[in-house]
């Protein structure tokens, strides 16, 4: 699907990932979030070469990567609070710290009254905000987002961009795949453009 793809993103960099539907944006993001391993070529992620890396090394790497999925991928049987707390629990953080971080973040995305709500009880925009909170709660070194503004209004999308810029400023590498041209125009940045699984622009 992806081929002839060579690029490097410096630590702390920001990239728009653009391209038509089916150009390979989601496939590239799956590689970067370690949902698949490359079948060919070399992938170095957060300083670790993924091809030869032992399988048991990958979970630790994944904990340093936050992803906002296009389809949110929330756990339906868990509340908003528990969904956001999940990465911290997997990392073995103390429950007291988890409570502070998760509450603060859900407050910030405007869901402080819906902590106990299951995803099914939330609107699409609310679910997206839960997914965003889950992606950033562990202060990832690499933040990936696939159409993160698809269900947000303009004000919320703008707030999200502020969050991404803030994470970026604090040292996270951020890659955002989107179709939202207005957003890209308003926040010009280094762009990766994919076409038919190939990288056609990197500037």
């Amino acid at each position: 699907m992806l081929h002839d793809l060579t690029f490097a993103v410096p630590e702390g960099g920001f990239r728009w990932l653009l391209g038509a539907s089916g150009a390979g944006k989601t496939s590239l993001l799956r590689l970067l979030q370690l949902a698949v391993r490359p079948t060919q070529g070399e992938l170095v992620l957060l300083g670790e070469s993924i091809g030869p890396a032992l399988r048991r090394r990958l979970p630790l790497l994944r904990r340093r990567i936050g992803t906002v999925f296009q389809d949110f991928r929330l756990l339906p049987h868990l509340s908003a609070y528990d969904n956001v707390a999940l990465p911290l629990r997997l990392a073995g953080r103390p429950e007291g710290q988890i409570r502070v971080d998760v509450s603060e973040l859900l407050n910030w995305v405007g869901l402080s009254r819906k902590l106990a709500a299951r995803p099914a009880e939330l609107s699409g925009g609310e679910q997206q905000r839960v997914a965003i909170a889950r992606a950033v709660v562990g202060r990832p070194a690499l933040l990936l987002a696939d159409e993160p503004t698809g269900n947000l209004d303009e004000v919320q999308a703008e707030r999200l961009m502020q969050l991404f810029h803030e994470m970026n400023r604090l040292g996270a590498t951020v890659i955002v795949a989107t179709h939202n041209d207005t957003l890209v125009a308003r926040h010009p940045a280094h762009t990766l453009l994919l076409q038919d699984g190939q990288l056609v622009r990197d500037d």
Binding site: Q33, L34, A35, V36, R37, R55, R56, L58, P59, L60, L61, R62, R63, I65, T67, R73, L74, L75, P76, H77, L78, S79, Y81, D82, A85, L86, P87, R89, L90, A91, E95, I98, R99, V102, S103, N107, S112, R113, L115, A116, R134
Partner: protein, 301 residues
């Protein structure tokens, strides 16, 4: 908002939603039935072992030698001397008059000693093994004609072989029960895996290790198996006590009356084996779920 998180479920509980994926009905019920069967099979092993031992001791060989006209030419003495000189014989003892009387009382009534019948002397012989019965009989017959050797151990030996076979069957049944329990946990775990596939992939993507995911499944399977086996063992207890009551007379005892007497009469291996069923089921559940989940997880990167 401040008290809201406190109302939420505690940390580290059912992240994968296994409470519904591994139902708390079917698996415990099946494991309970297996534990019940295991208890019965265990009782079979123990009972067969006890009977085999009992019969073995009986068959450790008593022979009876009848010597007609014992007083003539010291026939009885000659038979006794010969028996005692034979290396296979542990002990040879002529029955005393009172023993003879006790032996005949059911047929002749009290005072059989006073009846003027030509009674043979009866020698009770304990032998090391009964392989050379025929040789011994021939030698006795030629030395003291009319002597009759009766080896009543043969059917006992057959019974003991039967008991050993029963014991082997019961042990085999226990092995099969364990095998079926493993298969059941495996099937239940696989079903749980496929019904929680999305959740597992999400958690895996968030950096959960194989050990974490397998541990969740294993803990759930362990609890379900243990609770099922506990129920099965508890249900099996009255059945085993009942069987103990029925079997006691065959083992040479009297039928125990009362619950305490029954409980005391139940063989120690059963008292040890029955409480071991829930931990054994728990171990089977844990190990099987761990193996099944870890193997399944290999398909994820």
């Amino acid at each position: 908002m401040t008290d809201a998180p406190r109302r939420l479920r505690p940390a580290g509980s059912d992240d994968l939603g296994l409470r519904r994926a591994l139902s708390d009905r079917l698996l415990p019920m099946l494991v309970g039935a297996m534990a019940f069967l295991a208890a019965l099979a265990l009782a079979g092993v123990v009972a067969a072992a006890a009977l085999a031992g009992h019969w073995q001791r009986g068959a450790a060989a008593t022979l009876t030698v009848q010597v007609p006209e014992p007083l003539q030419d010291g026939r009885l003495d000659r038979v006794l001397t010969m028996l005692r000189a034979s290396p296979a014989v542990l002990e040879a003892q002529a029955l005393s008059e009172s023993e003879m009387e006790a032996l005949l009382r059911p047929w002749l009534g009290a005072g059989s000693g006073r009846i003027a019948l030509p009674m043979p002397a009866v020698v009770s012989v304990r032998v090391r093994d009964t392989a050379d019965d025929a040789g011994l009989a021939a030698r006795l017959e030629s030395a003291v004609p009319g002597t009759l050797l009766e080896a009543h151990d043969r059917w006992l030996r057959r019974l003991s072989v039967l008991a050993r076979s029963l014991q082997a069957c019961a042990a085999l049944a226990m092995g099969l029960v364990a095998f079926v329990a493993v298969a059941m946990v495996m099937v239940a775990t696989r079903a749980g895996l496929s019904s929680r596939r999305d959740a597992i992939e999400i958690i895996h993507g968030l950096g959960a290790t194989d050990g974490f995911i397998a541990g969740r499944f294993a803990r759930r399977a362990m609890r379900l198996a243990a609770s099922g086996a506990l129920a099965g063992a508890v249900l099996a207890l009255p059945v085993l006590l009942g069987l103990t009551g029925l079997a006691a007379p065959f083992a040479g005892g009297e039928a125990p009356s009362g619950l305490w007497a029954l409980a005391l009469a139940m063989p120690a291996p059963l008292w040890l084996g029955l409480p071991a069923l829930p931990p054994a089921a728990a171990a089977i559940g844990w190990i099987t779920a761990q193996g099944t989940v870890r193997r399944w997880l290999r398909r994820l990167p």
